[in-house]
């Protein structure tokens, strides 16, 4: 069983080397190899998850056998392994769901480049999830940004290039702040490994010497990551980037890239800064306010939108707001709710993007709502899947979105000063969600005589099976919420 301890490092290296091999392959070969590797990494992560769940401990993997304060480390418990597995599953499903669009929208000789970016994205996500070294985290944050930029701009038209440029600018601002935060942290503590920094930070705070620098550092790191993961006022690049890139990219960007950064932030809060010290800083209230603002403004913008892809993108802004609002509550139950929402939002949003493309395909490629009328009758599977995704986003029981909203509400009850604003904004946001999602569902189920041909399930079986897998994933997250929240609580307790 000890061999399983090597799996996290192995999966990072495997996906990175696959990226190198893909550069020498043709499109089809690269596609097969990448799909295989994402599957293998998923299996390795599942084994790691099983191992860590049975032993109930966390493990430190020392890279190159240099002992603690000097070397680079990987540290994993059950939450990290489970997150890696989940990311692999979503990535695999997104790739399958958008496969026909990748072949259509990307030049034939460029297809292998797309899969290079996918592999790099996977390896950087895994590294962000597993690493215990803060500077390694920074380097992989940048690799993640570059890979995401490639995924956006691979379909070459003006909108995507402009969106990729805007994305890069915002991301670089974020990583600049993050980097100088890390430098300050290194100056104060003299360590780069997360666990060692934590000990020094505790000593510093107990001494009361560097109160302002610690506060500034926390602010810089949190704001840097918030900018990178498109928290409300920094979301200007998001609708174009998600709305015009190819569908697999949009699904992966919304459900993996921003979530990878948020997972890193959770790790930094628990393992580097320490939850108590984070609570005492006032940054938490800033996150709370911006999270609430994002929940409302994202939904309002989504209602105004007349383009189905951009509408789903604006909904992402609202959901990121939910996650930061969970941090802002300042209870561990709030963080548990946020982690659950990472899972449920990733499962639902990629489902919506993939189902949305099925609906636009049977409407002559048009994305505006007038043309989409009755699309669910022309592509029945996509219609059902989109309805499931919408119900989950609105928060109907049985589906994943309900559980995360319930967890947020329960977490809010524990914090009296923030209870009322949270519940009010949750209610408003749910109503707004219902307005734009139900509007779309009614629109696609309005029968109309259309000039567009309908598509049966048999014509694209891979797509249909992918949608079924997504629906099952959503229902599993919604129905089996208890073991999943237990797993999150256990994983978070192993974090520090």
């Amino acid at each position: 069983m000890d061999i399983i301890r090597n799996f996290p490092c192995l999966s990072i290296l495997l996906s990175m080397f696959t990226a190198i091999i893909c550069s020498a392959l043709k499109g089809k070969g690269a596609r097969r190899l990448s799909t295989l590797v994402v599957g293998i990494v998923g299996i390795l992560s599942a084994a790691t998850l099983f191992f860590t769940m049975t032993t109930g401990e966390h493990y430190v993997y020392v890279m190159g056998h240099f002992p603690a304060p000097f070397g680079n480390e990987i540290r994993f418990g059950c939450l990290e392994a489970g997150m890696a597995l989940f990311f692999c599953v979503i990535m695999l499903l997104s790739l399958f769901g958008g496969r026909h669009k990748i072949q259509m929208e990307i030049d034939l000789h460029k297809e292998n480049l797309y899969y290079i970016m996918v592999d790099l994205l996977l390896s950087s996500l895994l590294a962000l999830v597993y690493t215990n070294d803060i500077f390694t985290a920074y380097v992989f944050v940048e690799i993640n940004t570059i890979a995401a930029c490639g995924l956006i701009m691979i379909t070459e038209h003006g909108r995507t290039i402009e969106a990729a440029t805007r994305y890069m600018i915002m991301s670089l601002l974020g990583s600049g702040l993050f980097l100088i935060g890390i430098c300050l942290l290194y100056d104060m503590t003299g360590h780069l490994l997360m666990s060692n920094i934590h000990e020094s930070i505790q000593a510093i705070v107990a001494d009361g010497t560097y109160t302002i620098p610690v506060l500034v550092t926390i602010a810089l790191i949190v704001v840097g990551i918030a900018i990178k993961s498109a928290l409300f006022p920094f979301h200007a690049w998001l609708p174009d980037a998600y709305g015009y890139s190819t569908v697999s990219s949009a699904a992966m960007l919304s459900s993996l890239v921003s979530k990878g950064y948020i997972f890193l932030l959770i790790k930094l809060i628990y393992r580097v800064i320490g939850f108590d010290i984070f609570l005492e800083s006032k940054i938490i209230n800033v996150l709370f306010v911006f999270g609430l603002a994002g929940m409302i403004m994202g939904s309002v913008n989504a209602i105004k939108e007349n383009d189905i892809r951009r509408m789903i993108s604006y909904s992402s802004v609202a959901q990121i707001g939910y996650i930061y609002m969970g941090f802002g509550l300042g209870t561990s139950a709030g963080v548990v709710a946020s982690v659950f929402h990472i899972l449920s939002h990733a499962a639902t949003k990629s489902l919506l993007f993939v189902a949305g493309v099925g609906l636009t395909d049977v409407s002559g490629g048009h994305k505006n709502f007038e043309k989409l009328t009755g699309a669910a009758y022309r592509n029945k599977m996509a219609g059902v899947a989109f309805t499931v995704g919408s119900l989950s986003m609105v928060g109907i029981p049985v589906f994943a979105g309900f559980v995360s909203k319930l967890l947020f509400a329960q977490a809010a009850v524990q914090n009296h000063s923030k209870l009322l604003p949270t519940l009010i904004v949750l209610a408003i946001s749910t109503v707004l969600n219902a307005i734009y999602f139900m509007k779309t569902v009614i629109r696609i189920y309005t029968p109309v005589h259309s000039k567009y041909a309908s598509v049966s399930v048999k014509e694209n079986p891979v797509y249909a099976v992918t949608l079924i897998c997504f629906i099952v994933l959503n229902i599993v997250l919604g129905m089996c919420s208890e073991p999943i929240t237990d797993w999150i609580i256990k994983g978070l307790s192993l974090f520090a």
Binding site: E142, G158, I161, T165, L179
Partner: protein
């Protein structure tokens, strides 16, 4: 307060440069000026790191005459971080420049706001 600022004048300069780079990257309309801002910002961070690694009166950590006493040398870790950071910064700059070339070929302007308004007018 004032004495600290005077004693750590290098760090003060680094932070001011960081601010200049950050605002340039955020607020300039011209893509090339944005990229220059990015480079100023990154370089300021490297200056900050290098200053933090330097200890007055000590030499670079290269062992020549068998002196293994750590008191002789400066802290080598920040220099390593600077090197890694430079690699990241170079690749990101290259990516930004290539994006700028693409935009310029398509729209014959470097002004990002103008490109955005033109895209909105096209309405696609």
């Amino acid at each position: 307060m004032g004495n600290n600022l005077l004693a750590n004048y290098g760090e003060v300069v680094a932070v001011i440069l960081f601010g200049i780079g950050f605002t340039n990257l955020l607020l300039q309309k011209n893509m090339i000026k944005k990229i220059i801002g990015l480079n100023i910002m990154d370089t300021a961070i490297y200056l900050f790191l290098a200053l933090k690694g330097y200890i007055r009166g000590r030499i670079a950590p290269i062992v020549v005459n068998g002196d293994l006493n750590p008191e002789t040398y400066i802290n080598p870790v920040p220099s390593g971080l600077v090197l890694t950071g430079i690699v990241v910064s170079v690749s990101v700059t290259a990516l930004m420049l290539s994006l700028t070339i693409r935009l310029y070929r398509r729209y014959h302007t470097l002004d990002l706001d103008e490109i955005t308004t033109r895209l909105k007018k096209e309405g696609r």
